[in-house]
Assembly symmetry: C2
Homo-oligomer: 331 residues x 2
Amino acid sequence: MKKFINAPEAVLADSLRGVQAAHPELVVDFEHRVILRGTPKAQGTVALVSGGGSGHEPLHGGFVGEGMLDAAVAGEVFTSPTPDQILAATKAVDRGAGVLHIVKNYTGDVLNFEMAAELAAADGVEVATVVTNDDVAVQDSTWTAGRRGVGVTVLVEKIAGAAAEAGADLATVAALAERINANGRSFGIALTSCTVPAVGHPTFDLPDDEIEIGVGIHGEPGRHRIPIAPAAELAKHLVEPVLADLDFTGGPTIVMLNGLGGTPLIELYLLYGEVAALLEQAGVTVARSLVGNYITSLDMAGASVTVLKADDEVLKLWDAPVNTPGLRWGR
Amino acid sequence: MKKFINAPEAVLADSLRGVQAAHPELVVDFEHRVILRGTPKAQGTVALVSGGGSGHEPLHGGFVGEGMLDAAVAGEVFTSPTPDQILAATKAVDRGAGVLHIVKNYTGDVLNFEMAAELAAADGVEVATVVTNDDVAVQDSTWTAGRRGVGVTVLVEKIAGAAAEAGADLATVAALAERINANGRSFGIALTSCTVPAVGHPTFDLPDDEIEIGVGIHGEPGRHRIPIAPAAELAKHLVEPVLADLDFTGGPTIVMLNGLGGTPLIELYLLYGEVAALLEQAGVTVARSLVGNYITSLDMAGASVTVLKADDEVLKLWDAPVNTPGLRWGR
């Protein structure tokens, strides 16, 4: 295993030090492993907290900042953060208008965020929760009952974050987050496994000429394997199950073509060209797109596509300014 | 070789289609393989053109847009674009105030940009050229006489781009670009080789327990190899030769910790934490930092550091708004 690390057990603590060094506009709570905005929101505004296992950067810490999250809670690599950590983040960002927890559907995350929400409620902090479950690849999986939460989480964080920033109340922000999750679908494929630092070898064996179709962001198995194929063919494997699961015609969509960590941008753009062509053939209108590494799986080579049914309100919230390390644009 | 491609000979054309699909705000001239702003600059403003071999994305096409480049010329992977391509880009963006060519110091690039500049001059377009050569690792190399141009190119494009946007004339923008190059130094290390699609196997063999110190962005050899070591140790290999080559104390600096394409963000942040600590120990003040993939080498796992001596003028230009796929921030 060749990685830029000091020791497998120090990966999270050491990388948080780097985040703090690189982003003086953020505050890292090293005790609780929480990344917070340096300048908190105004009193009376809904706050957003997300989190989960590390290894998916920029998700979630890279999405803390104006227009997106108020805090991100970092677990060890591919391991849920504890209720104590989540509680600390929730209490730190509450501005008296309640806190939305954005949780990817993995059993550990769901349980620990639930417990933290109960503890926060006992302390007088109102918490609403959205659990994302957009991955159409498999029904149950290694760490999940039901569908896995993947790429749509980025879109929920951006769009609900914009609504909270604009002053929407907790019920409104939570309902919007639910609607984004309900209208988004994702699918991923892997060219290689990832290697968890504490394990030291690839999570799964994938022969040199095979591709995992429907892979999860922790290297959980997908639907099946196929021989290596041209990008135009692989794009069909990404897009078809998404379009089969929900009707995306008849309105605008937001599309994310996401790299899983080890795939260079030239390949992501190439693949996006194929994805865009397939969507056009299927009568799907792409109003906004995002190509890059947004929710990764350590060093895994691979990609996922996320398609979201949008409308004018959603596009307006998407276009609102955002200022985070991982997603940044102006007015 | 497992990559998201259709055929090795179609990689560039196919990826340009994806760039156009993902970025309606840009215009791709598919004939000349040039990426241009959709909304050209005002008449009487200096334009910036860069380019080179593909495989370093987001450099250069991802840096086209307000506050940075006016056009980027894409050669085949790791291959210089031709004078005809560069000429077409230069003539397309000239607004009567001249064009700055930003060229990384590789023999093919230097010759072809030089020829294009002569042809443009014959057509009445004034061209100034800055050749970047910031890589302190080696003096001459596979495709270079003198030092290689690497990470500082990103900083030159941002800072000179801001000056051009603000209305500086060609002599001023060119002198500024020269000054940025003269005040910047870089050094890179590789954990793995890259694989050029048209070749189909890794460019160089690097044993599972060794690291290439001083690697170039095309997999050119560096200074030597060392056994795998902790990130804190590798950070010294990155930082020490840079600090030994130029005195960075006594004023602000801009620091870029750049991923070479296959290294995930969690490792880059971890490594940046070590780099920042070493710079602080050496009395270097980091005023601005950038951590991510900006000048890559296909799927190579590795990183480079670039340190730039700045001043108030340079920091102001750095902070100026930029709106490109690869670098984007508001006022």
